[in-house]
């Protein structure tokens, strides 16, 4: 028999002997004995089997050594496993032993609504930029919701916002812009404000709800320009979506701004290469923006020569949908706990 075969046979013998021996060892002492018997430095069975290694030709030594090491590792891990099992068993038998694997006892907290999560995040970004946060009534009058915003009665652009009217006068605000009007009527520039809250339009499908949340920013001062608008949106979008996103303005029409714009940000999923989320365009449509129309400033008594300002607005629900990959806006208002519970980790 060649020396290599002989060595391998010896290793196989050690393996099978260990396999039968470990089955009979059920306490710490016998496991320790087993370790000595097989792995003992001087007369362990494995050590003895390896004595034949030096008789091997040079070329056979590395493969043989490797086999021996593998067997040593097998024995080591089987011993460690057995030792862990034996000591855990001992712990369970200890007086007053607990089942430490039972679920813990805790008061389970509730989940913050995803729209609140996103609202808080948007607010904190703008607060850090020095914006104030303002509020106003949800039942508005025509003047604050439309006329002051350069939407006189009979203006066709009113068709863009299908309105709910309220018995006894007034309407449900169709956007958060009347908050800007109310704030401007109280405060003189410079002004940096955010309006955030519910808005209502007669519109309902997978991406439109008759009740939704909107956020609008307004900055008024001397020398405020569209460049400031672009820079502000970029700073904000980068922080909200945690990345260096690009911003694109496109001409767009909103009666309360001139020049007016729609703004897009580069897709937060593909970085602008094109994917399913951005419909292969590389851009995500966010909302509307522009320079405040001089008629709006006149309506609130601002000096249209001295001051310029920008405004922008977008949907809070839409941001939440993008952030959490939610495909139906109506989920926000169904209040299914199987939905809400998923946001516990975001509080």
């Amino acid at each position: 028999m060649p020396p290599l075969d002989r060595l391998e046979e010896a290793l196989d013998r050690v393996r099978s002997e260990f396999a039968s021996a470990i089955g009979r060892s059920a306490d710490t002492g016998s496991l320790e004995a087993l370790r000595n018997r097989f792995l003992g430095r001087k007369s362990g069975l494995l050590t003895l089997a390896l004595k034949g290694l030096k008789d091997l030709p040079e070329k056979d030594r590395p493969p043989a050594g490797e086999k021996a090491n593998r067997l040593r590792a097998e024995i080591e891990s089987a011993l460690a496993e057995a030792e862990a099992r034996v000591s855990a068993g001992a712990a369970r038998r200890a007086p007053h032993a607990l089942d430490v694997t039972l679920p813990g006892i805790a008061a389970r907290s509730g989940a913050v609504h995803p729209v609140t999560l996103v609202r808080r995040e948007i607010e904190s970004i703008f607060l850090e930029m020095g914006f104030t946060i303002e509020e106003g009534p949800e039942v508005e009058d025509d003047w604050h919701n439309f006329e002051a915003l350069n939407l006189p009665p009979d203006h066709p652009a009113r068709d863009m916002q299908d309105t709910f009217y309220v018995e006894g006068g007034g309407l449900l605000r169709t956007h958060t812009s009347p908050i800007q009007i109310r704030t401007m009527m109280k405060v003189q520039p410079p002004l940096k404000m955010l309006a955030i809250g519910k808005a209502f339009r007669r519109d309902s499908d997978i991406s439109h709800s008759p009740m939704f949340h909107q956020v609008e920013g307004l900055v008024v001062g001397e020398g405020v320009s569209m460049a400031d608008l672009k820079g502000t949106i970029r700073l904000f979008a980068g922080r909200l979506f945690r990345g260096d996103l690009r911003v694109r303005l496109r001409p767009g029409y909103f009666p309360f701004v001139e020049p007016g714009a729609e703004f897009d940000v580069s897709c937060m999923i593909c970085g602008g290469d094109g994917c399913r989320l951005c419909k292969r365009s590389g851009w995500i449509e966010m909302g509307g923006a522009g320079m405040v129309h001089p008629n709006v400033f006149e309506n609130v008594g601002y000096d249209t020569e001295k001051y310029t300002g920008f405004a922008f607005g977008f949907g809070v629900d839409r941001i939440a949908m993008l952030r959490y990959a939610i495909d139906d806006i109506r989920l926000f208002f169904e209040n299914d706990l199987r939905f809400l519970d998923q946001f516990r980790g975001e509080a």
Binding site: D141, P153, M226, R250, G252, E334
Partner: protein
Amino acid sequence: MKFAVEWMREFVEITISPAELATRLTSVGFVVDTIEGAGDTAILDVDVPPNRPDGMNVYGLAREVAALSSKTLYSYPAAVRESAGAPPASAAATVAIEAADLCGRYCARVVRNIRVAPSPDWIVRRLGAIGLTPVNNVVDITNYVLWELGHPLHAFDLTRLEGRRIVVRRAHRGETIQTLDGVARRLEPEMLVIADATKAVAVAGVMGGAGTMISAGTTEVLLESAWFEPSGVRRTSKRLALSTDASYRFERGADIEVAHVAIDRAAALLAELAGGEVAPGLIDIRAEGAMAKRTIHLRTSRIETLTGMRIEPQRTRKYLEALGFEAAAAPDGFEVVVPRHRQDVSAEADLVEEVARSAGYDAIPETIPHLPGTGAVNRFAHRREETLRSSLLGSGYSEAMTYSFISSDDDWLLREEGVAGVPLTNPMAEGQEILRSTLLPGLTMAARHNLNHGVREVRLFEIGRVFRRVEGRAAHEDRKHAPGPETDEQLCAGIVATGLARARHWSEPARESGFHDVKGAIEEALQRLSLRATFELPAAPNPFRPGSAARMISDGVVVGRVGLLGEEVAARFGIKAQVALAEINLSLLFAAPATPLAFRPIPRFPASSRDLALVVGRETAWRDIESAISEAGGDLVARVALFDRYEGKSLPEGHISVAVNIVYQHPDRTLALEEVQAAEAKVLAALHDRFGVTLRR
């Protein structure tokens, strides 16, 4: 709105691909949603901004294409060959404008010997490509010119116009007309009509009448190309609930200058395609000043102020002229004459937009405004609201958001006493017809939704506004421009708990959510808010189960209610399970100032803790026992806590046992056992005297 590239090519050279064209149009504000087909057969679906009626036709969009690609816009074909020697149009019909405030111009032409027939293929194809159904050559030609040049036209059967007369006037009281769609419509005196000698034959700018429409036997046509005042058309269209391609354009502003161009083009096509003979002469009646053009001063510096882009005056001029504006140099910029097709441009800022979108918004730099700002949150009680939210979350309630409009029946069922609801005049759907006066119906329905979907513990809260009708309220101070809506908004918090109080767990038996769970969540929140409230029996328990509801009172004001939903009401909501509900009016609760927090020294001397098992009558309220103990024990009583409550056979009929822990303490010394015993004796005597309470043996 659909546009065929092939059609646009009649007016401008297009050398770029449809995809590239789409990108460029989008970047100047005409968003191309889709491209159908390719090359010459490509159809672009363009989202034309509502303030750009000039872009809602082939020629107008070609003008934009020419400007954005530095090409020349071809002139529009307007030559018409009149039948020499035939009687002039003015002999065949007369036109009078009686309402010059609503009609700035009325052009008419007479075309004779027409043969009404199907349109030739190329017209059918072009109209079909953009989704229009052909009717006959006369009607198709008016449509063709509408889509090509953007000016609405109308064709009357001239022989049916009584007196061969057109009068543009307001409708008479009680006047009616049957429009082309076959509907008989009642007109109102503020509506503008086209009439013949005796009756209305068209609703001006909206739709023609059936009685004078083109029919198979029509031979003599009066073509109308007019300009109607936008808001008048819009009001009429709204009142009649009738919107047409014509009204859509007139209410957004048609181009008064092309009225004669459009009619000449249509007349020429009638001659060419329907064998018509065009009577000599264009009838063209204009209101004074209706054709005036606007001139706007544009400062070069303003472009930079608004956009942050510095644009050379020569470039500004080039951009404006490419779009049809005339720009005359002025010391600081230009005097710009606005073409009539751009009624949307009325001020300097509008011109700035024209220049900026020509230069491209991509060229706008990015800067950060350097303005001071306080970063304040000017929202009612926002910190308290956040504290309340966080406390309720900690108590295991998840945040809900329900609709602000609900069914008026549901609202009525859970409405607070003495509150009037606020209905919507135009609800979108059944079950959404009233603004909620309470958060409870929305939360109850959310609870039902969850129960029905197998969720076994339902704990939800919502913070939001409710709406109540306020009769005869004076105009609000900052609603000086309109009568104040008679609606009051209050910020409320609503809470619902049903099903299991906790998920089933090995550490405790399962238990149903009840009144005290919701009450506990409120008490915890009140503590976190440094606010106080008491819970009193309500006068009228509706909608709650009798004896299982309380009013929440803070500073003498009712600020909320809490209770178990009455079984009958629950059944109306389709719920069999026990439902605990609470609603707190935060506008009232948060009106009270918080108690300022001041540190109290930690007691230096040990306290003496004593437990008592008491037998008390079932009707005796715990709060009465608690205050009797505090009163009788005086300053020595530091804390009173109820730690067990037992009902059972070993007790006298109508009695329960309560286990109370009383902590006695003195700030300056350790209490002697005798002092504690004396205090306890006083407590027991008081309890016995006032409520017949005895010690349990």
